[in-house]
């Protein structure tokens, strides 16, 4: 059996890649994808711990399914926002998006 540490390291790696992407990508779609990576890192943890701790009713797996569903919904909302921003600014790069300052 693959040790738990392998899963947690994978999860941590994915999380870091996601954070790095979210912080550095200039393209909004890239940021959205990075956020998906972060969520999936969390999912891996949920499923792995469910297996190793031997929770009988598969709570972690069910929780993972929830996260996938909600992540899908969140991506939809995110994409809609991106389209709205694009229509307004004719751009997908975050450098110009300083509305929070004004």
């Amino acid at each position: 059996m693959i040790p738990l540490a392998y899963f947690t390291f994978l999860s941590a790696f994915l999380f870091c890649v996601g954070i790095y992407g979210a912080l550095t990508r200039r393209n909004v779609i890239g940021i959205l994808i990075s956020i998906e990576l972060i969520l999936n890192a969390a999912n891996i943890n949920l499923v792995a711990f469910n297996k190793y701790l031997g929770t009988p009713d598969g709570m972690g797996q069910v929780f993972g399914l929830f996260v996938i569903a909600i992540a899908a919904a969140a991506s939809v909302v995110g994409l809609v926002l991106i389209i709205a921003i694009y229509r307004d600014r004719k751009s997908l790069f975050t450098d110009g998006f300083t509305l929070m300052k004004e």
Binding site: I19, T94, D95, T98, M100, K101
Partner: protein, 595 residues
Amino acid sequence: MQIAHYIPLFPFLAFVINIFFGRRLKIVSAYVAITASIVSFLFSLRVFECFKAGEASYSLGTWLTIGGKPLNFGIIIDPLTIMMLLIVTFIGTFILIYSIGYMHDDPRFSRYFAYISLFMSSMLGLVLADNFVLLLIFWEGVGLCSYLLIAFWYERPAAARAGLKAFITTRIGDTGFLVGMLLLFFTCGTFHFTDLKSLTGPEPILTLAAILIFTGAMGKSAQFPLHVWLPDAMEGPTAVSALIHAATMVAAGVYLVARCFPLFVDHPMALQTVAVIGGISALMAASIATVNNDIKRVLAYSTISQLGLMMLGLGVGGLSAGTFHLMTHAFFKALLFLCAGSVIHAVGTQDIQKMGGLLSKMKITGVTFCIGTLALAGVPPFAGFWSKDEILLTAWNNHHPVLFVVALLTSFLTAFYMSRLIILVLFGKARSELHAHESPLTMTVPLIVLSFFAAFAGFIGSPLKEAAEGAQGSFVIMAISTVVSLTGLALAYLLYIRRVVLVPVASIQGLHNLLVNKYYIDEIYDAYLIKPCLAFCRGAFSFDAKIVDGVVNGTAEVVQFCSGLLRRTQTGLIQNYLLVQVFSVVLLLIWLLKI
């Protein structure tokens, strides 16, 4: 019938009408003011009759309660008040009539009549008030009108400056008056004049209060050292000079001392101060008048001198002498100013060195001018003789030999400078191109009426009966005073008609310079009071501008600078915020896990 309190209301009504509707009323505004003045005069006469029938002061009720003591809205009715009421309304009426002619083409014609009406209203209120607080209100009212009327032609910088000078100088006196009045209240607990007879309190404080109250009188009556504003006040229209700066308002100071006379009598040092200040003013102003070449300024210095004589009269204990002189002076000085106005109106200059020979061209003005001069010079039987004699007599009888000599010297100088004035204006040959003509009837009729009173007011006496009776007192004093006056006249005749050189010109050059420069009093004030005061004000201003404002502005700038720095962190880029969040969480974790 209690009608005295209506007297100031009529001129006030005229003021309200003229100030709001004056522009549409035009010439009618003069008639409004004159009508109000005449009605007030008739009411004053009625009050006089009621007084003779035994009516006394009354109160319109409690006005304020100060320190648990009621302050009445009281009207005082006694000979002094009635005399002032009659003088103000009577002379005021004729000066208003005169003003129709004098101000006929002025663009602010109705404004002028509004101010004069307001002045009369305040002045009448002043003499009717029975307590210090009420008096002070009207006192400031006449001061305001004086300022407005001196600076009436405010387009001229000299007039605007003179108005300010008058206001600020009298304000110095008024401050003393206010302090004295409050001192009296805190010591004795009264503002009412009727209580002054029976005051109990520490002697030095009451003396100080009396002297401080006299300071107010000094400012208003232009007594040394606060006399400097009156000569400059001649920038105003001449009719104003006649009414306010000769006959009535400047006499308010004398009135105040007369009104508080019981207080002064109880405290000899205060009374002595009044007499000495009066004597100094009388002699100093009279000596300046002998060399001045401006027709109105000669009369202004003469006014200071005569007011000083009144103060001297009061100071030596002659209440009736001082007030009697106040009355006669009001008539002949108003007359003299109106004559001067008529002359200025005709020739368009105030420099007496440029006039001359006007008697043949302006007969009525000339003759009335001569009558006024004889009255002021104190030649019997004109009005000034009787009242001045009364003052001399009181000074002699009450053993004040120095003040007696001062008064005598003043009357000699008075006779001299007035003769010099009329000789240079009316007699001899014209010394420049003059197109003189007699003034219109509205101006000459008041001259004739006032000259009648200037000649005979000494006989009718005043409501103060004893004044006229006392004048028969000492034949010797009468003779001395007559001789002195005639000597003054004769000296002026020798110097200015016969052109006799009595002393070498060079020997009196220094004295002449001193007099022409008015003892350098204006210069001394400028150097030692006004300049340091202005320097202090500039210092205070720069302290305010630099230090006080600096602290306030500095605080704002520091805040602005710090916020400028903080503002940099607010980039608006969501990723920056996220970065901060991540770092914060990492730090939080480090702290929680104690790594």
